[in-house]
Symmetry: C2
Subunit: 162 residues, 2 copies
């Protein structure tokens, strides 16, 4: 739902003037993909970074529909970046008004989460999960082989709403 | 681990001068147990309330031992009070230095949590859990019948460490 990769590119260009070729991000953990990896890594601790992340295309109306049909939880591995927590709550309040505080989970490790279906862009989050595991395509995971992928929110809708 | 009931009494006395009989809290949700319930309820949104909660007797060394024997997660239903999130992280860092950010979970509802054993003072948190469910005695739950109670951290140690 949050397009972190685009946010990294936008902030990097704003700080350095360099425009990053999106292809150069493929298969790499975001901060490491940039010429100055430390600068990019520090974005994660900078006030405003998470608060202003762009919303992914179609995520709002697809998640609104999922929320009518299923018990939806927004689970964010946020604990490494404490200042991001209130920013993520405010971001959700702004862009996903139909998600109540009861549906939000912040954790360090997602291994403690149970449910029927998890959509995530990290294999390390999906692996310990007991239910259906959909890998949401992001530049960093494009080279990973995974049995079940979704490439955009339209595809999530086709999988879970029809 | 956090003695919220004592914190409510301390803050209430500090604000009003009234000393509350602990027996008057039995069987009641904390804010409702105080003569001025709105004042007590507002503590939950006041900076510093969660940051300065007293640590329960024996919780530090018992949880340190549990942490050696088991995979421990600290799961806090914190999402209703967003300002409490960074305060709770700082509180854990100060009093439970052996707990890493990877072991912390903040949620609105604990129904999304899986594990082998949950210790909690609210039946509503224990009920949807699939594993062993230990009700940790607190004034508000003393009148509730429950099959499996622990009254203090020593008893938790006797149950899970021997």
């Amino acid at each position: 739902m949050a397009d972190i990769s685009t946010q990294f590119q936008t902030w990097y260009t704003r700080r350095t003037g360099l425009v990053i070729d999106p292809k150069s991000l493929i298969g790499k953990h975001e901060p490491d993909a940039f010429p100055d990896a430390e600068l990019a890594w520090n974005f994660l601790f900078t006030p405003g970074f998470f608060r202003t992340v762009p919303v992914m295309k179609d995520s709002q109306h697809i998640i609104a529909e999922l929320n009518k049909k299923y018990e939806v939880f927004i689970v964010s591995a946020a604990m490494e970046f404490p200042q991001s927590l209130p920013e993520k709550i405010d971001w959700l309040k702004e862009h996903f008004v139909f998600i109540s505080w009861k549906q939000i989970v912040f954790c360090g490790s997602k291994s403690v989460i149970k449910g029927d279906c998890m959509i995530d862009d990290y294999v390390r989050n999906l692996e310990p999960f007991d239910g259906e595991k959909l890998l949401y395509t992001a530049p960093h995971n494009q080279l990973i082989e995974w049995h079940d992928r979704v490439n955009n929110w339209q595809e999530v809708g086709e999988r879970l709403l029809l």
